[in-house]
Amino acid sequence: MSNKKSMTSRERVLAAINHQTPDRIPVDLGATPSSGISAIAYSNLVNHIGNTELPVQIYDVVQQLAQPDRTILDRFSVDVLDIGRTFNEKPTDWEPTILANGAPAFYPKWFKPVKREDGSYVTFDDDGETMLSRMPVGATFFDQTYFPYVDGYPDSYENLDAEMGRIMWARDAHSPWDHAGEDRFWEQLRERTLRLRETTDKALLVVCGCNLFEWGTFLRRMDNFLMDLLCDPANVERLLDELLKRHLATLEKVCNAVGDLVDIIRFGDDLGMTSGPFMDADTYRLLFKPRHKILCDYVKEHSQMHTFIHSCGSISSLMPDLIEAGIEIFNPIQTNAWQMEPEFLKKEFGKDCTFWGGGIETAGVLNVETPEKVREQVLERLETFSNGGGFVFNTVHNILPDVPPQNIVAMFDAIQEFNNR
């Protein structure tokens, strides 16, 4: 048994980020849309542990992720909450739907995809004609079908806000952003976050994408934007500056509303794939680093929040620059990617950043192995990552529908076992 003084959840998370050894391993499940659980896996989990009364609320409709109930979070000693969950808190904010496995679930009541004869779902723009996204049969995700600048960059960015609003990631955004257009939204966000802060000792997180590379891919389509990085950097920079203006305006509002209440702000930008980063470090340095730095600097000057970035894949070659730009926390730590081995990462970057993820492989272990194998990997990962803080437990990316509930329970049990050593 450890004789360390026991900490509140919030103290535990902050200790880890500040590289002090927390009393036990801080844990996340569902505080971000890349550290969460798909609706199907969540439905299986609540049934497995006998909490069948809990509704499966799909708060991120694009990725089909469930908002884990507070009962579940407490049961698994989760230490952090997304402030987005303070919205859509009434049963009347939700409408029933059926998951691909036949189980009941709920969508936020504003989300009304159209079911097609072949069983797929699609969404349309207000004109009822332009298809914006599509979820094929067998998929657990909506896919963007509308790319406004696919044929080239516009002369003027007057229409950028409108076009961004047509991209599924913005149009069908998860809470709190699904309420962003409403009167008094920012006051509401503050009031609700204040109330949450009073009722929980967990750390609080706000998801505020500020994506740069990814917005380029949403607007131009991925293949085009990747080539633009090389053959049209002037237009890339022009677009990034327009995005930066908008992101800074949002950050100003976020910092004013909750910058003194929330502990972590989560940005997103997928810079890696399994075999390597999407771009070399020079390209990152030239186009993205200066702008990431402006975003991080703003947060640091105007709030108490710690900076967090979600990026899939192999990014260790970009991490020194991301850290220099001001990123403090990385997620999901895709440990099966190139040069992303846990020991290597901890040794190379452990003192300079916090790993939020990498706790177990969702592809290859959590989804297919036995509970005992799950336990072994979790214990091994905790051994590697947890020394001296700088680690918050989370799976490598979202728990997908193929993960059996027994393994999720085994995973949390193993954390408990490690804490009690």
Binding site: P136, D223, M227, T274, F278, D280, T283, A363, L400
Partner: protein
């Protein structure tokens, strides 16, 4: 003259130089690109076949190797593919008419339920750049789609791509369905969550971690 031009074409593919007007890559600014050089080659009487095997393929092979070794990244590969595409526009008529021959046909698609296509596209480009006719079925492909394509292209090999653990399982059924109709058809699989064990388990013929691997496989099996 001819050898000089073929070498230049190869460099255009290797470094992603599409045409004269292209500003990329900076070190080749103002020079002729794949577009112009292919025209020049055809003008001096070099055949489409030779342009493909002596110009495009050596360039693409270098790209494949550098990408595998993480010396270049996806943006560079896409530029190379674009340069190759510029050249292929001139060559396609010769392949269609039968005046020149590709090594064989490769059908590729991302499997049902999966929408990731960057990797699949890269494989398609590299295989094309290695001298094959490529039929790209897109994403979210059911078994029927592959089977229909094989019917139209007897003797073609098939590539299945999946990036998700939840969709790689569809590869098994698709492979079975294909083999039930065309037992001789070679099925090769790829994508981040897939590996050799899985390939063996589902009865596919080959797994490759990268595009160069599938090119090697095709060269030994169907070329």
């Amino acid at each position: 003259m001819k050898d000089e031009l073929l070498k230049k074409l190869s460099a255009c593919v290797e470094f992603g130089k599409t045409n004269k007007a292209a500003l990329y890559p900076p070190q080749m600014k103002g020079e002729d690109g794949a577009d112009e050089i292919t025209s020049q080659l055809l003008d001096v009487g070099v055949g489409a076949q030779e342009i493909l095997t002596e110009g495009l393929m050596p360039g693409m092979e270098k790209v494949g190797i550098k990408f595998r070794e993480n010396k270049i990244f996806v943006p560079q590969v896409l530029m190379s593919a674009k340069a190759m595409g510029m050249s292929m526009v001139h060559l396609k008529p010769f392949f269609t008419s039968g005046a020149a021959k590709q090594k064989g046909t490769f059908i590729i698609g991302t499997v049902q339920g999966d929408l990731h296509d960057i990797g699949k596209n890269l494989v398609a480009m590299m295989v094309e750049g290695s001298g094959y006719k490529v039929i790209d079925l897109g994403t979210d492909c059911l078994a029927e789609k592959y089977i229909a394509a094989i019917k139209e292209n007897p003797g073609a090999a098939v590539g299945l791509s999946a990036l998700l653990t939840t969709t790689m399982v569809n590869m098994e059924q698709i492979t079975k369905d294909i083999k039930a109709v065309f037992p001789e058809t070679l099925v090769t699989i790829g994508g981040a969550p897939v590996n050799d064990d899985f390939c063996l388990k589902i009865g596919a013929d080959n797994y490759s971690a990268d595009p160069q691997g599938v090119v090697d496989f095709l060269n030994t099996k169907i070329a």
